[in-house]
């Protein structure tokens, strides 16, 4: 009896937690299928009209493409720089390496708003006009610490002998890095890459402050919202959510599953 009660309490608690986290998203997705003009209860019936409207909207589609571009290019750069920094700090004795590690990770603790304002000032000072490139720079700034931290933590001492072996067999530093270290760390490099992509994909403040004519999807959605609630925003929101979920699923299935096995 007692067991039964604790079981029910446990399931109830878990249900509440997941409800708290996912109910907003569930409501968002549900009302993206609303047959009517307002994404609020009551639910009038199932319709795909708003998805049709989203795919017909040139501005939204352009923003979607921009988001993809910025996410992928900035993540590749963040991973590359993160990997190089991690390699240097893990393998060489550098002056003040603890301080350097701290400096590299520090941007994680700074709010995106501050980073965006700082970058805006710098860009203005140098007379660089705002574009998708400047958004990309912003996203490299916020994702580099993440990529560095993930890749650095996966560089174990047991890799040192493997790199030594490669060097012993005649590989130069570049070849050791390209043929041995990077492939060996590929699971964590890819994990860093995909996480970085999802963060860049969802990011609003930096994208908003550092872009002008070409904007990313979150910025475009924001400008849609200014004209009032509309099931179309639910539809595009659901698509954004779907992409994030898909990325996480890929990550989980291909990478985390694999590292568990080996």
């Amino acid at each position: 009896m007692r067991d039964m009660l604790t079981k029910i309490a446990a399931f109830g608690y878990a249900g509440l937690i997941y409800g708290f986290i996912f109910l907003p998203v569930a409501v968002l997705v549900l009302f993206s299928f609303q047959d009517g003009r307002l994404p609020v209860p009551p639910f009038n019936g199932f319709s795909l009209q708003w998805y049709e409207a989203v795919f017909a909207d040139r501005k939204l589609m352009a923003a979607l493409a921009n988001s993809f571009l910025v996410a992928i290019v900035s993540s590749v750069i963040a991973c590359l720089l993160g990997f190089l920094a991690a390699y240097a700090l893990a393998r060489y004795k550098l002056p003040g390496s603890a301080l350097q590690r701290g400096l590299l990770i520090a941007p994680m603790t700074v709010s995106y708003l501050i980073i965006a304002l700082g970058l805006l000032t710098v860009l203005n000072t140098f007379g660089i006009s705002l574009s998708l490139w400047t958004v990309g720079i912003g996203h490299v700034v916020i994702n580099l610490p993440l990529c560095f931290a993930i890749i650095y933590s996966s560089m174990g001492d047991h890799h040192i002998n493997i790199e030594r072996a490669a060097r012993d067999l005649g590989a130069n530093d570049f070849k050791v890095m390209a043929l041995v270290t990077a492939p060996m760390l590929m699971p964590s490099i890819l994990a860093a890459f995909f996480l970085s992509v999802t963060f860049s994909w969802d990011e609003f403040i930096i994208a908003f402050l550092l872009s002008r004519f070409d904007v990313t999807l979150p910025v475009e959605i924001w400008s849609l919202l200014r004209s009032g609630l509309n099931p179309k925003t639910n539809a595009i929101g659901s698509l954004v959510f779907l992409v994030s979920v898909a990325l996480l699923a890929v990550l989980e299935l291909t990478l985390f599953g694999k590292t568990k096995k080996s």
Binding site: R167, L169, G170, P183, M184
Partner: protein
Amino acid sequence: MTAAVSVHNATKTFGAFTALNDVSLDIKAGEFIVLLGPSGCGKTTLLSILGGFQSPTKGRVTIAGKDMTSVPPAKRPTTTMFQDYALFPHMKLRDNVGFGLRMRGMAKVERDEKALGFLDLVGLKASADKKPHELSGGQRQRVALARALAVDPDVLLLDEPLGALDLKLRRQMQDELKAIQKRVGTTFVHVTHDQEEAMAIADRIVVMNQGRIEDFGPPADIYMRPRSVFSAGFMGEVNFIPGKVKSVDATAALVETAVGVMALPIASFTASAPTSGQAVMLCIRPEHFRRAGEAEGPVVSLGDAKVTGSAFFGTHYRCHLKPASAPDLIIVAHMPQSTAVADGQIVPLAVSLADIVALPEGT
């Protein structure tokens, strides 16, 4: 290929710690050398210096007569087989073995063929397309050996390669290593702390302790005629009986011990010629004790001894004995398996003179 290796007065210090203390060593081409010693004795440091991963604070290293002291690992005619194998986890076995050849610019077809040949040498040709994590410890070991040999080094350096294997597999791999070394003819320098392993594979053993070479020679010499107290103790069980040289003449020295005075031939003093008044340590292996009257050749009697404990070890009885003349001394002796031994039994002990080694105390 193969080459001779020489170390001249190598010293390596890390801060205040001296890992290697003025070590000199000459290794002939094609020899299987084992560096043996407890952890922290400097054997791994010496191997790193040979491989170029560390450079000596003082001294020189030559390989095939050429000075290699400051040549990086990649440019040396050496390859190292690491304790944890250090295989490339993301590469198939054939790519692991072919890696060194790839770095030397060999075309894919050619190096695959050569890699397969070396995998065949270690009996893993059929697994060429597997990845390291699919293999057992012993198999990884073999791949590491094939990879190190594939680049045709003059000298192969092995850093405790068998340390992670279980006993049975270790014995098997020792035989294989020895057989492969004979086949390829490369100079092998192998590090271990297991004296049985050292005796099983080495042409010559280098016994090291506290950064110095204690002893250097073929396994039988190191075991039977050790040149230091440390070396005698490290190579296997041994009884130490302290004594004092009373007088020395041209052929023998008279040594006074708790179990009697004995005239030892000068040849028993393996480390240095005896001097009158010198404190010495007599080293006698447990299997060298005989019951008086059983031994052949000149023997020295140690008087009667009482058995205080014994255990059957298969090949022999291992007994603890208390000599009547020196009740403070405990002697460990191996008695033949054919004769049962009982506690409290009195046994007349003797040793062949040729089996006794006398070393200056404190070496």
